[in-house]
Symmetry: C2
Subunit: 421 residues, 2 copies
């Protein structure tokens, strides 16, 4: 069986460029990651802790899998009960998913949350919990409960602290996934920050199906607006990446807003909500793309963009079908300009209104040079194979399919190639 | 780019056992395969011809892909026009799919059919056409039209002739797929024959998405009964195999019945139809399983059987989701009893009424030894890893998932593992 070690030391050279050397992080969040002993190697970071000095608005998107891990069930119940108000932080472990663990697993998830609640002085459950790793095994809960106060002691707001937190949610990721950026609202001088991390990688490793995302901002946002924003963003980011195509029992993306930077609260349906939605969507795209880049054996990052469909949903359906096609992914690795496979996938995507005579397929190089047309209005172009393999040799590539409906619906999906590694 | 040569000589040892050394074939069908020059190597068989001495009832199931190759469009129109009566044979070429070839491609497909019609003395279009190979290129139509009379000269009813015909529809298959068997109807002494061939293989080769199937029987069957039978059979065979998960522009499965063995015509809705449906379904399963066994790099043949679902459609949906999961396929290759992945796939299959507490997962060995229970009523078993890898080391394996609905709906899906080959 192929095995990849847990990501501990410096990331492999090829991926190192995706790990930030610095960042600017939201106010009022204290973070840290330690090794508490879930991971057997005795050293890899496996417990991540985030606390907010102020109570946060919280939003989350959870896996749709029928088999939901204990922390997913617990987190949904808590957010429903609290209507997204008064959340104080997040505790996450890697190495064990606490999935398919029955009543005992629920107790473990609740105990993890309580462990943090006590430290921040909350009576009521106010801490999100995430777990990732092996399915069907109970957590070494004592190690985790002993670890939480240890992690609490070393919480900080530094880049290093955020990087360690990002490392602590990794399983077989080859590099930690961390992003941060600043933003402002039109007509306001206040600078806000958003930071986030993601966990997830590659195609074919036993425990790699799980996708975790965590984002935090110091902007003040109502829970309703925050959930609108996150749902929109996830649909275009974490739910628009195809790595192994499976959906795990633990997939969770959460967003906290503590308002520590002050200013007027962003309410649902306002212009400010639209501004923040754009900021968070772009940020979530950036984070989720790092997961694709960590695809096991992936040599290429591919954006499949579908234009001029009837609507966003149709465009995404086609983009997703192309991105998930093993034949397309393999052709990309083979540097084979096989538009036939792209067309095939388009043709069985199952949406209405695809007209062969209106369908266009192109490769878009990332160096700004002109697109390479493969199929124009259903007619194959006389493709310059040399130019095609030039483009296919690039690490980043866009496949563009235009359906010519005149409706302008569009969506993008992000994927990697299937290599033989 | 990985390349596999066209199957020409003896199949590789490992697969040789699946190529029959003899067979008993239906009366009144004359078949043959030759090299006409579509394949560039100058020798591989690439033109298959089947003619019936008597006009046949014909049924076919075609690809649902929006982008249909010319022979698919032509075949559907012909069968509609003739209501399935009076079909005289099949001509098929490998090496070029005649797909995405516009009006010229349609003319080529019609010309191929006419080439055979003339030889068998039919005015009206009465020959099915199939093509498989590269997409987006015109057929070398002159070579094919010159080849048809050559093929016609060497038509025969021998095992060798059937085997050559099966070889002539192969592209990158590593062995020809041919089956034949005899059957009778209750209360009748007449022995009937059915023979058939399939084309299709493996996961990741450029031109391998296409799946072709052709079956012929000397039983007398009405076109309506024949289509009922074929639709039922294909749903449980050619549409129940997962190799690369893609659906091509050319996929076609056809069934001809010429009645040469005499007896009473099988009509729709009769008991005889039910008998023949069972015969053809089992036969089609046998043929389609050979396609799975030819999966590129496949080391294992896996039957995913789902029991006790609400109905056949739900059961098939779950079986198909498990069979197509890259994580499941890779775990199988890794001999990793990762029931978590099987459960995951079950959980995101999208059907209603999956209850974790009622879900069971087992491995069924093929040597008759007892099943290995992995999950019982949603609770993980303490799995004997040694026993698990024993079972996973077998070439054939069954994964059984029982949904415990009490409704008894069941279905099977056939797949292979993902190896690193």
């Amino acid at each position: 069986m192929t095995t990849r070690g847990y990501a501990t030391g410096p990331a492999p050279n090829a991926k190192w460029k995706y790990v930030p050397q610095s960042g600017s992080y939201p106010q009022g969040f204290n973070v840290g990651g330690i090794h508490c002993g879930v991971k057997k190697d005795g050293k890899s970071l496996d417990l991540a802790l985030v606390t907010s000095e102020l109570p946060c608005s919280a939003a989350a998107v959870f896996t749709k899998n029928v088999f939901k891990a204990a922390p997913v069930v617990m987190g949904r119940e808590m957010l429903d009960k609290r209507k997204g108000y008064g959340i104080r932080g997040l505790v996450a472990n890697s190495g064990c998913a606490n999935a398919v663990t029955g009543k005992g697993g629920m107790e473990d998830a609740l105990a993890m949350g309580r462990g943090v609640d006590k430290l921040v002085g909350e009576e009521e459950s106010s801490t999100l919990v995430m777990s990732t790793g092996v399915i069907g095994q109970r957590l070494p809960i004592k190690k985790i409960l002993d670890g939480i106060p240890e992690a609490y002691k070393i919480l900080a707001q530094s880049h290093e602290a955020w990087l360690n937190t990002a490392k602590a949610i990794c399983t077989t990721d080859t590099f930690p996934k961390l992003c941060s950026k600043s933003f402002t609202f039109p007509g306001s001088s206040t600078t806000y920050k958003i930071a986030g991390m993601a966990k997830g990688a590659g195609m074919i490793h036993p425990n790699m199906a799980t996708l975790l995302g965590f984002m935090a901002t110091d902007a003040p946002v109502s829970p309703e607006a925050l959930q609108n924003i996150l749902t929109h963003a996830v649909e275009r980011s974490f739910n628009a990446i195809s790595v192994d195509g499976d959906m795990s029992t633990n997939d969770t993306v959460a967003l906290l807003a503590n308002g520590a930077a002050g200013g007027k609260t962003v309410e649902a349906g306002t212009e400010a909500e639209a501004v923040l939605r754009a900021v968070v969507t772009e940020f979530a795209e950036e984070l989720s793309k790092l997961v694709v880049r960590d695809g096991e054996g992936a040599t290429k990052f591919v954006t499949v963009s579908v234009k001029d469909a009837n609507n966003f949903a149709d465009a995404k359906q086609v983009a997703s079908t192309i991105a998930r096609s093993p034949l397309v992914k393999t052709a990309l690795y083979g540097r084979d300009a096989n538009w036939g496979r792209i067309l095939c996938a388009t043709g069985y995507s199952g949406i209405d209104g695809i007209v062969p005579e209106k369908t266009n397929v192109s490769f878009i190089p990332t160096d700004g040079s002109p697109e390479l047309k493969l199929l124009v209005n259903g007619e194959p172009e006389n493709v310059d194979e040399e130019r095609a393999s030039e483009i296919l040799a690039m690490e980043d590539l866009e496949i563009r399919v235009s359906l010519g409906t005149g409706k302008g619906g569009e969506a993008a999906y992000y994927t990697c190639d299937f290599s033989h590694e």
